[in-house]
Amino acid sequence: MIRFENVHKYYGAVHAVRGLDITVRPGEFLVLIGPSGCGKTTALKMVNRLIAPTSGRVLIDGTDVSEMPLVTLRRNIGYVIQETGLFPHMTIAQNVALVPRLKKWPRAKRNERVDELLHLVGLDPAVYRDRYPRHLSGGQRQRVGVARALAADPPIILMDEPFGATDPITRKQLQRELARIKEQVQKTIVFVTHDISEAFLLGDSICLLKDGEVVQHATPEELLRSPANDFVHEFIGDEAVSRQFDYLQMGEICRTPLPTFPADAPDWQIATALRKAGTAVGATIDPGGRLTGIVQVIPHAEGGNRTAVQRRPREHVRVARRDELVREFFPGLCRTNRAGGPTGGAVDPGLVVVDEQSRPCGLVSYDDIVRLIAGLVTGTAIEETSGADPEDESTAAFFTRQRVKGAVAR
Amino acid sequence: MTYLVENWPEVINLAAEHLRITAFAMAIAVAIGVPLGILIARIRPLGPVVLAVASIFYLIPSLALFAVLVPVTGLGPQPAVIGLVLYSQLAIVRNTATGLLTVPPSLRETAEGMGMTGLQRLFLVELPLALPMIIAGIRVAAVMSIGAATIAAYVGAGGLGTLIFQGMRLLWPEMVLAGAIPASVMAVAVDFAFVLLERLAARHQRATLPLRRRAAAA
């Protein structure tokens, strides 16, 4: 666990970091993000003491880092920087094995570890072990940088804009790889970036900084749902993400299946069917298949064990046609609230997407939005949905498949 | 220091002689070295050959270089001047060629695109841009030549070296210093003057120069 306690940093008269209070839980992936000069890199470098705070403390597992022996501290923290900082006179294997070597691991164990890590970052050890950094492309070098940081299995990894200098395609690849590696290694990671889509893809929590202060520290979902102020909203809704919405239609992003019922179906029937489908929201339709309203299961209504079914007529449901553009709904979607909503009490189910004949196709929930943004930055969301045609399959099966894929992408 | 104080007119005379020989040699060295540099920048395969010959002259100890000329020219300022010219070639030729070769290709293309002839390109674009580096080469050559010229005193060229050799022969440190100190001051002053000249020539191209230095180093 890493804790920043009221950390300040002055550079002469410049107050670069102003009273930082952040906690990073073990195994958490924290993204520090903000415009340049916001103090994010300064904060990161305070963890491995490349920079000392002017006042305040940085704690790792309760111990002030300034009281730990410098070398031990740093050897137990992996460090990845934008310029990679690979040692040009050492082979890839020597670079990766450096910290284990400093820690005096036996040679055989080091070699084994090098192979294991090169595999992990997607480089074939047989090919790359004995090459030198200058033989590698920028993306490959950054992979080696990540492998080197992981080498001695440190519990904490610091990454300072690691993909900032790579081209967009390589960057997306590296981000996807890191998301995978993150699942495999379970480290506490602090990651600095100025790329919001990267933050959404990778972060368990995102800490948005401005002028040395925390503007908002929250999960990606919270950040989307309830931005603390206009700065956050603007930063998130920033071109990087919203530009990608331009041509995306609502029908392409709805991922949550929406079982349908005749408008006169009894509550118990609806409740049973929804439970079987594993979802809490359904739609009611008229004999022509057109949307008349939605039904929602409310568990433990009135504090008891009973499950109630709440019905909302179409007038109280937000509806979008599937060929409408996501862009036009985006601000509203981001503000979708879990509690509250038009009718109060129940969870806001999100937005129902209907076809040209007003027949329901599915639901867009805030989970879908988060997944969408994450997917967009990796380029997966569009690939997955564009080829499929819902007319060919039963609606529920289609959405189930999409949802599973979506989950993988996230 | 007493020798210096008592014999200052003699020291000044010798210093003037020293400067004259060096300046004369540098004028000839530039007249040969810069065109040679242009030549090897244009005809690339000549480069290694010309530079190899120039570095041999540079590597031969200067005393040896002067001495080898004595049987041909006799004692006097001639072996000194010829020796200094040969000795200076490496720095001047190499810097001229490097200066020309590191002119940004975009500028060369622009000049071509404007319809400049080869000579116009050379005099209007390439040489002005290479000037700071050429001056840097002349600076190195000039400083080395002032040093080598002290040694040339032994082959009868005169200059401040006369006092140093004479003083050493007589085991008279005062006299040695009367030659050594002015010679050192002269070298440092000339170096400094050329630094200023180099800056003056580079004042219009601050932006590209560091890049080109790096390119030249690599």
């Binding site: 491995n48 490349l50 410098l70 070398v71 031990t72 501290l73 740093r74 050897r75 923290i77 460090y79 920087i81 934008q82 310029e83 990679t84 900082g85 690979l86 040692f87 040009p88 006179h89 050492m90 082979t91 450096l98 910290v99 400093l102 030198y132 200058r134 080197r148 | 041999i56 590597l59 031969i60 100890p61 200067s62 005393l63 040896a64 001495a67 080898v68 004595v70 049987p71 040093g147 010229a149 002290t150 040694i151 032994y154 070296g161 140093i164 050799f165 003083g167 050493m168 085991l171 440190p173 040695v176 210093l177 030659g179 050594a180 100190i181 010679a183 050192s184 070298a187 440092v188 170096d191």
Partner: protein, 212 residues
């Protein structure tokens, strides 16, 4: 031509002896220079205030004429081998010092930061990263120093320290061309050979990963 070769053959023992003297003088001086200059260069690269000193003293020191240097040191060391070795050492220190400093200070800042961030001690960074990367520059400095010292060592004869300069000075004094050449040819050969040899060393110490 045959007269010259004949003379050199006759004097081969003398030439061999003077060459040894020449090499001993140069070798001692370059050795001392390296021992002094590398630690100083490392220090200058580490302590920022010193770096200013090194670049200034270095660039001024290198402009002082070699003969003048001999003269300037004469009041301290008197006449003879100590003066020659002292002057050669001073000459040799500067290129090695400046190149060591530039070599280390020129190591990519990202590489240095990565080393720090990985928890390398100052000594580990120096020996595992900075010196290997600066090695080609240091070797180039040693090469320059050696060639200069061989050249200046010819002057040592004048102050009674011997070396191949003996032949040259005597030859000039007596107007004997073959004697002049008997000193020049081995001196020039020494300079050119050591330049080639140390050029090879320079390539050899360049880490494979940074070779062009």
């Amino acid at each position: 031509m045959t007269a010259i070769l004949q003379y050199m053959w006759d004097q081969r023992m003398e030439i061999w002896w003077l060459t040894q003297e020449h090499l001993a003088m140069t070798g001692t001086a370059v050795g001392l220079a390296v021992l002094i200059a590398i630690p100083l260069g490392v220090l200058a690269a580490r302590v920022r205030r010193l770096s200013f000193l090194v670049t200034w003293v270095g660039s001024i020191g290198q402009t002082v004429p070699s003969l003048a240097l001999l003269g300037l040191l004469m009041p301290v060391f008197g006449i003879g081998t100590p003066l020659a070795v002292a002057a050669l050492t001073v000459r040799g220190v500067l290129p090695v010092l400046i190149n060591t400093y530039v070599g280390i200070a020129g190591v990519d800042a990202a590489v240095t930061e990565a080393g720090k961030g990985m928890g390398m001690t100052s000594g580990q960074r120096l020996f595992m990263v900075e010196l290997p990367l600066a090695a080609p520059a240091i070797a180039a400095g040693v090469r320059t120093a050696t060639v200069h010292c061989i050249s200046i060592a010819t002057l040592a004869a004048f102050i009674g320290a011997g070396g191949l300069g003996d032949m040259i000075f005597l030859g000039i004094n007596q107007g004997r061309t073959e004697q002049i050449l008997a000193g020049i040819v081995p001196a020039a050969a020494l300079a050119i050979l050591s330049d080639l040899l140390l050029g090879g060393v320079e390539r050899f110490v360049t880490p494979r990963g940074v070779r062009a």
